[in-house]
Symmetry: C2
Subunit: 193 residues, 2 copies
DNA sequence: GTTAGCATGTAAGGAGTTACATGATTTT
DNA sequence: AAAATCATGTAACTCCTTACATGCTAAC
């Protein structure tokens, strides 16, 4: 039922989906991927890996050593069950999926899902942001408004950022829709911006 | 020493600085202020208020009742000690101050600090973001690059957003600097953007 | 040879959420 | 009269961070 903290699990499964990897490397990739903000610590990654091993979602692929006989590193690989679990988590489109972190992770692994899921996640995220915009703008009319210039400026900047993200999502949705078979790459220019 | 979790404390002191308020209202204002993401729950607000009462940072201003004799609400007020603590927290310019949440809170209450502090916080935040940009862009050259179009698009969008925030900060810094006595409001147009 | 980065882990603790519990007041 | 929203709280739990512990390997 995709609880809040399945984020690491999803991320690990997604990365291992691209090929076997050891813990240290997983952490680096993850931090690069979501590095805009919180940084994942060993204290949460390694226990999570252990837990996933016990749950049979991943297996140790024997300790590998690079050419020059380094310290053996424990390389992990997804199992069948792990892949199924990954697919299930990715398909579970619900409130948790639109939250910042969860959305980012899901988006990063979009290549491993169907367009149908992609569209639902993108659209869900977009309406979530639009709701927030509406709520904040409505509330701004009732409250303060003029008092505290800095707080107001922060709000203004926040609204602008969210509006930008909404446009970004709209472009992506449009790209997905017009993608039936042409595949013009998600980063391709689409007119706006 | 401004630990991570002093965020609520700082926020509460900052809001009460503008006038007495009761818990429920504090929560609403806080969520509106930082509402772009996590929402503060009663389970963290009320215990925090209790803790601040014990620490003598705030006092109960007797239960107020509105005209129509409503259920009494416990209204809080900052104490002398509370104001001192607030000023000290705001002046503590250090790594914790540039983190997303902490920065936002500090920025929102900039009116209650000196320009010197404001500049240090703005500049600190800016260099932090620039470091992140440099690190990510450097790392992007070594890793993947072409594999996984969606992950790449997420990175691109992330970089763009951070670059925007850097420009925003630069505008604010410029405004502060040229503010010696003219005070052109932080949201005033400054050329870029 | 010593610093920096690679590599894996554990234990304790912090901060905050969820769920529970209660009840008044306003709106529909 | 019911539903929504105001209003205050507590207890259990979760996730994660910090700090500790260990040792290898590459570069300077």
């Amino acid at each position: 039922m995709a609880r809040r903290g399945d984020t690491i699990e999803l991320a690990v499964l997604g990365l291992l989906h691209e090929g076997p990897m050891h813990g240290y490397e997983l952490r680096k990739r993850l931090n690069l991927m979501l590095g805009w903000g919180r940084v994942l610590s060993y204290g949460s990654l390694y226990p999570a890996l252990k837990k996933m091993l016990r749950a049979n979602l991943i297996t140790e692929v024997a300790a590998t050593t690079t050419p020059t006989s380094r310290r053996p590193r424990i390389t992990y690989e997804v199992t069948e069950a792990g892949n199924e679990h990954f697919q299930r988590l990715m398909s579970e489109v619900g409130p948790t999926a639109w939250e910042d972190d969860n959305f980012d992770i899901r988006f990063a692994f979009f290549s491993s899902t169907d367009m149908e899921i992609r569209l639902r996640v993108l659209e869900g995220r977009r309406s979530r942001l639009q709701e927030r915009l509406a709520r904040v703008q409505g509330e701004l009319e009732r409250t303060q408004a003029e008092v505290n210039r800095y707080a107001a400026e922060l709000q203004r900047h926040g609204v602008e950022s969210v509006e930008r993200e909404v446009r970004w999502l709209s472009d992506l949705i449009r790209a997905e829709r017009g993608d039936e078979s042409r595949t013009p790459a998600p980063g391709a220019p689409t007119g706006s911006d």
